[in-house]
Amino acid sequence: MSKFHLGWFTNFSNPPWNHQWAGTEGRDWPSGDAHVEFTRALERACFDYIMLEDSSMVSDIFEGSSRVDLKYGLYSPKHDPLMLAPKLAAATSKIGIIATASTSFYPPWLLARRFASLDHIAHGRIGWNAVTSSEDRAAQNHGLDGLPPHDERYDRADEFVDLVKNLWDSWEPDAHVLDRENRVYVDHEKVHVLDHRGKYHASRGPLNLMRPPQGHPVICQAGGSPRGRAFAAKNADTLLTAGGEPADMKAYRDDVRARMAEAGRNPDGCKIMYITTPVMADTEDEAQAKAARLRASSAAKLETSLAHISAVTEIDFAALDLDTEFSELSTNGHTTTLANFTKLGSTPREAAIAWANANFRYVGTPDSVAEQMGEVMAEVGGDGFLITGNIGRRFVGEITEGLVPALQRRELVRSEYRHDTFRENLLEF
């Protein structure tokens, strides 16, 4: 079994502040200082990347108001991850940094230039999580009445990504000649106008800075629906999806790899990562006790879970009776997420609690959790796990000081970075 990859799924937002181990993050997170220390710890544990998800709305779907969203700080406050990326890049030297930007709201030329600059500053370690955004509320903040239909959003996104890649290619790799004798800094014949006029986007180009060190920053994606998977198969270098039963994980991976082959890409060119939150303690029974505490139902958990699912599907779950069976539900937002949610329980209450606990799959001491993860990866075939959870030092320490060394001893994950750029490390195995 070759090694698998590790990444972390988080955002530029408040870590859960109201609990025992909330050290100084409550004060440090708005400036990004808390995230800097956390990312250094991930680099010490040789993580492939940190992924900063994003959304641009205060959700007021649940109960028709933003009370619950703001009470727990679910979807806001959330800061712009593109301004955290340079700070993380300056404090690290090997780990990849993926920031989210929406193809539905950013002008293509602006996004292409922003990520090209970030890739220079990060010396070839930047990634772009290409999302189409899924909430009308977000669209209304950007001057639109609502989002285009789900599949059309992906058609627009396909053209958007092609245009951005062409803009990154508008400077040839060796355009930057630095010829002191003839006083030529850049050979102008190696910089090309694009003049792209497409169905949805237009841009003359070129960019006004050098080609990014990686050529193309790493593209990340989270497509679950068939159209989303097709988009990912064509464009993504890494793909994230919810964990779950190994059989479902394997089915998802095989489907994406098949689509990649159809799109003429080498299936190994995209690393599929499964989201999870390991529960660990010094001894097995302590870990089981801890897992039981974490999985326990509570009013707060029910409220936050229902508010979450309402926000991403734009269905007000407060209007449903919590204990009667689901009727047919549909959304223009996260179609797969809604499908998974309804599979987890027959009533909103059941499904909400199960959905909130979905990430707690691997429980035990660091060694036993390492064993469990190794077995699942062997069965599924790859490519890695995306850890998510509170970025406070307590939980992060359990991963970087406990789980990762146990995985390294079993040679399931890397113990050192062999390359300098994010893309080379990602595609090393």
């Binding site: 181990w21 100084t24 544990a45 320490g397 000081e401 406990g402 060394p405 390294q408």
Partner: protein, 395 residues
């Protein structure tokens, strides 16, 4: 009454084999373990760091290096000065006290060393004065045997006088840990910080009184000396979890016995004694006289195994949630009269980043919220120590 908090650190291999050891077994030597921990402690409001040191690898226990290199209570350990130099660049407010021997270092080297650190750290430098223990140390510096206790302290006094003359106004903080009569007198004359682990509140109060009396004898204001007591707080999310944590921490295991034997064996091989009998009466040492005296006082006629597995270099046990430990600390300071705590995390072969974060993210936020500690101010170390007299709830 607000009190001083310090961190007792070593440039020494931490826990390298436990469940939370991480990669520390290999990465400790590049300094990252200490540097990362000290930056977190500084952000959490801890006032100072005391980096201890010894300059020998002992083959006293069992006549070989085997025990030292298995138990790792004292070795392998790097020279603290370059590491403190690095910390001066990578921290901005925490006090930096480094250990150096007055017996082995020439006075002019000591004066130069600590005035350079004072400049680099913007006035946060401190010198932990030790006279060293163990013939093995002496043999690394051209001597056959360690000078006797009285000679070492007399020489220390000369060195301190000479260095203070060289520093004039901008002198670093002086720290001392000697518990013997000679040590206390010297501390009275020069020390800004005194570190000790007298056992129990009464011994803590009488020790502090003796230090303050020595300061008055030397014509100094007793409030210029800050006595810090060694403790190892054990923080749990609930009282019950904390109790389980403490039960594991203080369990009388073989490992705990061997740690104590190695720590005590400056010149005497304590492993040679019968562990199920009390300490024989005819044992003598030129090394750390106070360690032997303290051991004899505590041991009484109890068998060595019981004494050694329960004795820890700490003044009081602090166990519970962050809230209850903060209460206990507040109460101890009220009863003893002052001045603060030097927190140790188990030392070589035991300390983990996880323990450091229990202090920075569990205990310190609670102490800060209640104005008990972690609110020190002032750019240089001496004014920061003084600021504790004014800050906080009056006693």
């Amino acid at each position: 009454m607000s009190f001083v908090t310090g961190w007792f650190a070593s440039y020494l291999v931490p826990d390298w084999s436990g469940p939370w050891a991480g990669d520390s077994g290999t990465s400790w030597a590049d300094g990252s373990f200490v540097i990362d921990s000290v930056r977190d402690l500084e952000k959490a409001g801890v006032d100072l760091l005391m980096l201890e040191d010894i300059s020998y690898l002992a083959d006293i226990v069992g006549g070989t290096f085997e025990a030292e290199l298995r138990v790792n209570a004292r070795a392998p350990k790097g020279d603290p000065l370059p590491l403190i130099g690095r910390l001066a660049a990578q921290t901005s407010t925490i006090g930096l006290i480094a250990t150096a021997s007055s017996t082995f270092y020439p006075a002019d080297l000591l004066a130069r060393t600590f005035s350079t650190l004072q400049g680099l750290s913007g006035g946060r430098a401190g010198w932990n004065v030790v006279t060293s223990t163990g013939d093995r140390a002496a043999q690394n510096f051209g001597m056959d045997v360690l000078p006797d206790h009285a000679t070492r302290y007399a020489h220390a006094a000369e060195v301190l006088a000479e260095t203070h003359a060289a520093w004039g106004e901008d002198r670093p903080v002086i720290c001392q840990a000697g518990a013997s009569a000679g040590g206390i007198a010297l501390a009275g004359r020069y020390a800004d910080v005194v570190v000790a682990s007298p056992d129990g509140v009464d011994a803590m109060r009488s020790y502090r009184d003796s230090i303050r009396a020595a300061a008055v004898d030397a014509g100094r204001d007793p409030d210029d000396v800050h006595v810090l007591y060694m403790v190892t707080p054990l923080i749990g999310e609930t009282e019950e979890l904390a109790a389980e944590y403490a039960q594991r921490w203080y369990a009388p295991t073989d490992a705990a016995l061997w740690r104590r034997i190695v720590q005590l064996s400056g010149d005497i091989d304590y492993s040679a004694f019968d562990m199920d009998a009390p300490l024989p009466d005819d044992v003598e040492t030129q090394g750390s006289r106070s360690i032997l005296a303290n051991l004899r006082r505590v041991a009484g006629d109890r068998p060595m195994r019981e004494v050694l597995t329960t004795q820890r270099a700490q003044s009081v046990r602090l166990i519970g949630t962050a809230k209850s430990v903060a209460d206990q600390m507040e109460q101890v300071v009220a009863e003893v009269g002052g001045d603060g705590f030097l927190i140790a995390g188990g030392g070589g072969g035991v300390l983990t980043r996880r323990y450091v974060h229990e202090i920075t993210d569990g205990l310190m936020p609670e102490l800060r919220r209640r104005g008990l500690a972690g609110l020190g101010s002032g750019s240089d170390l001496r004014s920061r120590l003084q600021s504790h007299r004014e800050v906080g709830v009056p006693a």
